[in-house]
């Protein structure tokens, strides 16, 4: 007779007021923070416009393709913070390629901007990487030749001038660390083959959205 009464009393015992007040607040807080993080993660993992570079080395390119080795070209916006991770991955890649690739990093310099507009820390970082040549891409001419639209777009041609790889070498926007793009290029350079030849590119658009960003899409079409 007594036990049921106790059970009933235990069930009826209310939570402390503090808990009752804190619990919804905490839930709200967690929801808010969760949404924020979800948005942040979404932003970081949303790739830019991927390029559709020509299958052979463009003949009109002013770049000098290496005849005896692979040639890597990275198109970069000098002020894109996300590209810092791509430059860092390039340094890793060059270290793993061990001199079997010639690399160019072409920094966009739109017409009408100051002479040193492109001379940023990204330029300095790229120029310091052994085997990498930093060059100015006046008004994005070379980017357009390689059909690149997103900073960090990396393209690899072999010694014969055939397209080997196209994509980004970071796993997310501005996110350093192991990634499929870098692994593929290293494999291609060192072994001649890779599981992937295309990856997503995470970076700032090289051209203004209303004009340039559409051009690759248009070009690919």
């Amino acid at each position: 007779m007594r036990c049921p009464q106790k059970k009933i009393e235990a069930q009826r015992k209310p939570w402390p007021k503090r808990i009752r007040l804190l619990l919804p607040v905490t839930m709200l807080w967690l929801a808010t923070v969760g949404c924020g993080l979800w948005l942040l993660w979404g932003y970081e993992n949303t790739p830019g416009v991927a390029a559709q570079p020509p299958g052979d080395w463009p003949t009109d390119s002013r770049l000098q393709r290496a005849p005896d080795r692979a040639t890597l070209v990275m198109l970069a916006h000098p002020h894109c913070p996300c590209t810092r991770a791509s430059i860092g991955e390039l340094a890793q890649l060059m270290a793993h390629a061990q001199g079997r690739v010639t690399a160019y990093v072409l920094f966009l310099k739109p017409a009408g901007f100051a002479d040193d507009w492109e001379q940023t820390d990204l330029w300095q970082s790229a120029a310091r990487i052994p085997g990498v040549t930093a060059l100015i891409d006046d008004d994005g001419a070379e980017a357009q030749r390689f059909h690149a639209a997103t900073s960090g777009q990396t393209i690899l041609y072999n010694a014969a001038g055939r397209l080997q790889f196209s994509g980004g070498i970071t796993s997310a926007r501005g996110h350093a660390g192991d990634n499929a793009g870098r692994s593929a290029i290293v494999a291609l350079v060192n072994a001649g083959a890779a599981q992937q030849t295309e990856t997503s590119v995470f970076g700032c658009p090289l051209f203004n959205p209303e004009s340039v960003c559409r051009r690759p899409e248009h070009a690919s079409k």
Binding site: R18, V25, V33, L40, W41, H79, P110, S171, P209, C213
Partner: protein, 762 residues
């Protein structure tokens, strides 16, 4: 059993207290850690904003740029993540929910920072650092939500954006466990550390509880002891008050006794019985002895005693040690060397821890001087009484003796005149006469020492008397003794009977001679002195004034003090029996005293003796001294002489002498008879020769009455002893004619003739 239950209850109470202490301690730690995370989360938020702004301030699209989403994420999302934990840490510190929220927030902030820094591997250390920080709560349960957040983060991103986590698009579904595993790896150590720390906290809490119990017990005992101490304190206070009162009374007593000591008019001091050094001395002692207090306190008791008294003093101190203190009269020496007589009263005491003696010194110098003066006065009185008695005796017998001797010597002399020297009775009569004369000398000496003899004083030059008796003295003292005479020039004059002064000189010289049986030097000196009040104060029965001093010194055997004390007593002699009568110096004493002077003796055994005779000086010219009776032819006369003498032998002798010299003699046995004869006698009466001391009527009274009957009658007194009838204090009245018994027939004849031939002065 009761004790056991109480012990169990105590232990349970201690355990509960330990739990409380542990909970309190943990609460304190949690509150402190909450506050730390409030600060940390704030800093992390700001650091995230700074990192985002620094790493990726803007996002570019060709030639255009805008604020980078990371900046917005750092501000907004970071703020959202930090807000609730910070608010709870500040408003609800110590609650479990707060630290869980903090744990979740801290791990979410780590996730945000990793994103903001581009997933740099270094930033991942924030996760492990955060777990370490969370372990500060010392609550392993906090690590659970933190670990779940990390696991969830990797799990969800691995599911939805695998390349963002692992760099590849397809990975194993359990890959997230690898990351979670490292977190758990750290958690393992953290949990161990937390458990140990908690265990230590429990230990501390239990020890603290036990310590508190001990402290409580200690406090209880302290309280109990405090109560006891308070009680004891009150009792002690009462005793202190009592003691203070006693001390105050003691101080008052000490002050009073100090006042008695310091203000005492008698010199007082305390001296150390061991060192004899003075320990304290009062003002009266300083004043009396002349030393300063500092000097006194460096001196010893023996320093105020004459050197000759120190052995007796030390002996007395040793008796004091034995409890046989002898207070009494002592001599003390002042700083200026003066010796004073003191009477000491002493009391042994302990002074400043030293065995000491309190001494009170009463100066009895004046008293002793007075006593000495009194003793001398008494001695003089005794001497005077003795001399008076002797005098009365001598006077009493001298009258009869002299009458008898007058008859003996007179009739002997008359008989010798009628006999021839070769007749058999002549020599016998000569011897009878000598014996009579010697007896007369003795009688004179008795009268002299008792100052009853009749003096006929004159103003004398003492030097002249000495000069005239010099030859006789030289013969008297003999050849073995050198006589040295030192006479002061212009010596003052004295008034005395010259024959008596000669007697004094002779007696002193004979005494000196007898003191020098082996020879020596006899020195006779004269000088003038003035005896001042100081001298008078030190010598009884002396009047201040000018004196002429006759000093007779010898180099003989001297006398001790006892002998000196008795030297002037009648019949006292140190000479062999038969060699001295014991009357010589007493005769000197009597003559000098009767002449108004004093005689003193100074003597040292083995060195000699000096007698000094002080005779009052008079400012009158000296009289011419007669050359003495000259044995010339018996003067004859025819005048009528009224002879009055109660002694029949003397009367018949005088009658016979007068008639033999041609005089007419009217004989009377006493005064009334003489007056009757004078009335009845028709013829003139030229001279009355009368005894002085007679029954019924004295010679003086008779002369006065006879003078009324016959104014022309001259009077010649004869006596061997007088009362105050014709003399005062032994000195004959001025102008009085007198012949001393015993007299010789010739002397009487000369004296009668002399008186009859003296012109009558009106």
């Amino acid at each position: 059993m009761q004790a056991s239950n109480a012990e169990l209850a105590g232990r349970a109470m201690t355990a509960r207290r330990g739990t409380d202490i542990f909970n309190d301690h943990q609460q304190v730690i949690c509150r402190r850690t909450d506050r730390m995370f409030a600060v940390l989360l704030t800093l992390q938020w700001l650091a995230g904003i700074a990192a985002a702004y620094w790493i990726s301030p803007t996002a570019w699209a060709g030639t255009t740029s805008q604020t980078h989403p990371h900046v917005w994420a750092a501000v907004l999302l970071g703020g959202a993540i930090s807000a609730l934990p910070i608010v709870l840490a500040l408003t609800q510190p110590g609650h479990v929910s707060t630290r869980y929220t903090v744990a979740v927030g801290q791990m979410l902030m780590g996730s945000l920072l990793i994103h903001l820094t581009g997933g740099r591997i270094e930033t991942h250390f924030h996760v492990f650092g955060s777990l370490a920080f969370l372990s500060f709560y010392r609550d392993w349960r906090v690590l659970v939500p933190a670990t779940l957040i990390v696991a969830a983060d990797h799990f969800l991103r691995g599911v939805f954006w695998p390349q963002s986590v692992y760099g590849v698009l397809t990975v194993s579904e359990w890959r997230w466990l690898e990351h979670a595993g490292w977190v758990l790896f750290e958690n393992t150590f953290l949990v161990i550390a937390i458990r140990r720390s908690v265990s230590e906290m429990w230990d501390i809490a239990e020890r603290t509880a036990e310590s508190e119990d001990l402290n409580a017990e200690l406090e209880r005992r302290v309280l109990e002891r405090t109560v006891q101490l308070r009680t004891a304190n009150r009792e002690l206070g009462a005793k202190v008050v009592e003691h203070s009162s006693a001390e105050e009374a003691l101080r008052d007593s000490e002050a009073r006794y100090r006042l008695l000591f310091e203000s005492n008019p008698f010199p007082m001091w305390v001296y150390d019985l061991e060192t004899l050094g003075f320990l304290a001395v009062n003002d009266a002692a300083l004043h009396r002895y002349g030393y300063s207090r500092a000097e006194f306190l460096t001196m010893a008791i023996k320093d105020i005693h004459p050197a000759e008294d120190v052995p007796a003093l030390l002996a007395n101190v040793s008796r004091v040690f034995k409890g046989l203190d002898e207070a009494g009269a002592w001599r003390h020496q002042l700083k200026d060397g003066t010796i004073i007589d003191v009477e000491i009263s002493s009391y042994p005491l302990t002074f400043a821890g030293r065995q000491s003696e309190l001494v009170l010194a009463s100066d009895i110098t004046a008293r002793k001087q007075a006593e000495e003066a009194l003793r001398q006065s008494e001695e003089q009185l005794r001497q005077s009484q003795k001399m008076e008695a002797v005098g009365k005796l001598a006077g009493g017998v001298a009258h009869d003796f002299n009458n008898l001797l007058t008859a003996i010597t007179g009739y002997s002399d008359l008989s010798l005149r009628r006999l021839k020297p070769d007749e058999p009775l002549y020599h016998n009569l000569v011897e009878i006469k000598k014996a009579g004369e010697r007896a007369a000398g003795l009688t004179r000496q008795l009268l002299a020492l008792s100052r009853k003899q009749i003096l006929q004083p004159k103003v004398l030059d003492l030097n002249q008397i000495i000069f005239e008796t010099n030859k006789m003295l030289q013969r008297l003292i003999g050849e073995d003794i050198d006589l040295l005479v030192g006479l002061a020039p212009d010596l003052g004059k004295i008034k005395a009977d010259p024959s008596q002064i000669e007697q004094v000189l002779l007696n002193l010289s004979v005494n000196a001679r007898d003191a020098m049986p082996q020879g020596g030097k006899l020195t006779i000196e004269t000088t003038d002195v003035y005896l001042d009040e100081d001298y008078v104060g030190r010598h009884a029965a002396v009047r201040a004034g000018h004196y002429v001093v006759l000093a007779v010194s010898d180099t003989g055997c001297g006398m001790d003090a006892a002998t000196q004390a008795r030297i002037f007593e009648p019949f006292f002699t140190t000479k062999e029996v038969g060699k001295g009568t014991g009357l010589g110096l007493s005769t000197v004493y009597g003559i000098v005293k009767q002449s108004g002077g004093n005689v003193y003796v100074y003597s040292e055994v083995g060195h000699g003796t000096t007698f000094k005779v002080y005779l009052p000086r008079v400012d009158q010219p000296a009289a011419e001294l007669s050359a003495g009776p000259v044995e010339t032819a018996q003067p004859l006369g025819c005048e009528t002489v009224l002879l009055v003498e109660d002694e029949e032998m003397v009367r018949h002798l005088a009658k016979e002498i007068l008639q033999e010299n041609g005089y007419q003699v009217l004989e009377a046995q006493h005064g009334r008879a003489a007056l009757y004869i004078a009335e009845q006698h028709q013829g003139p009466i030229h001279l009355m020769l009368s005894d002085v001391v007679m029954p019924q009527m004295s010679g003086r009274a008779l002369a006065e009455q006879l003078g009324q009957l016959r104014r022309e009658v001259k009077v010649l007194y004869m006596s061997g002893y007088t009362d105050d009838a014709i003399v005062h204090h032994g000195v004959l009245d001025e102008g009085m004619a007198f012949i001393e018994k015993p007299f010789s027939p010739a002397a009487l004849a000369r004296k009668v003739r002399e008186v009859l031939d003296t012109p009558v002065t009106v």
